[in-house]
């Protein structure tokens, strides 16, 4: 299944719900564009909801890192939500779990932003 994303603004937090694959040519560019677009609107608190992500490759991991860097450079925060086992394993292998703030519950992710 190819990449799909929808966006919810909840207060000052933007939640990007994603489905499908984040790979080279399938979603990686779209993810980058979305994060860039919402940062451009002044949204600095972003939750990437990966609940529907079935597959991610090294390019997709690179796009998550790129998003993290973009948001941080604007003084914002990015959180990861609802990682499945495959994605979680990839973050363990690459040690990216040490970079990202990862949550299982949306309410917990929302509450974790610094004011």
């Amino acid at each position: 299944m190819s990449f799909k994303a929808s966006v919810r603004d909840i207060g000052d937090v933007t939640v990007i719900d994603m489905d499908g694959r984040i790979t080279l040519g399938e979603g990686s560019d779209l993810l980058r564009d979305l994060v860039h677009q919402y940062l451009g609107k002044g949204r600095r608190k972003i939750v990437l909801n990966l609940a529907g992500i079935t597959y991610i490759d090294s390019t997709g991991l690179g796009e998550l890192v790129s998003g993290y860097r973009m948001v941080k450079s604007e003084g914002g925060e990015i959180k990861l939500l609802n990682l499945n086992k495959k994605v979680s394993d990839l973050l363990q292998i690459t040690k990216l779990y040490t970079v990202f703030d990862i949550h299982r519950q949306e309410a917990e992710a929302m509450a974790s932003f610094h004011t």
Binding site: T23, L24, G25, E26, D57, S58, T59, L61, G62, E63, V65, S66, Y68, R69, K86, L90, I93, T94, K95, L96, T98, V99
Partner: protein, 141 residues
């Protein structure tokens, strides 16, 4: 006495679509070879990463160059080769993406994933000087 391994060869164009195609072929070969769902995913991702590396870095996205993907089914293992027509690279020159100075790089995690998901990974030089990535997955006893 071991029997001659079954060999499957696929020649791919240097197209972005070849990456997912190779992954699908890799997963089907892995299934045919008797690997379970988890190993099929891991083998598919390793093939995906190997072909993506050939597409981007080896063949530099030049369509006229080819990617040769080979599967050999041995009694105890599946051996996969990905050969590109670039200028090759050495495994020891690939920085570890887990090092602090590389952690926030956009790229450089493919080789690490292949090593994590396959039992053996090596990079040799092909006859034409390109990279010859050789990976093996052992059947669990």
């Amino acid at each position: 006495m071991s029997s001659k391994p079954q060999r499957i060869e696929v020649v791919l164009e240097t197209l972005i679509e070849s990456i997912a195609l190779a992954e699908t072929v890799g997963m089907r070969v892995a299934a045919e070879a008797g690997f379970g769902d988890d190993d099929q995913y891991k083998i598919g991702l390793a093939v995906h990463e190997g072909v993506m590396n050939a597409f981007q870095y080896g063949n530099e996205q030049r369509r006229e160059r080819k990617i040769h993907l080979t599967f050999e089914l041995h009694e105890d293992r599946l051996v996969i080769q990905v050969v590109d027509q670039g200028s090759g690279f050495r495994m020891e020159d690939v920085p570890d993406p887990r090092d602090d100075e590389n952690m926030l790089e956009d790229s450089g995690r493919g080789v690490l994933l292949m090593k994590a998901f396959m039992d053996e990974v090596d990079v040799l030089s092909s006859d034409s000087g390109g990279a010859k990535l050789v990976m093996a997955k052992l059947h669990k006893k």
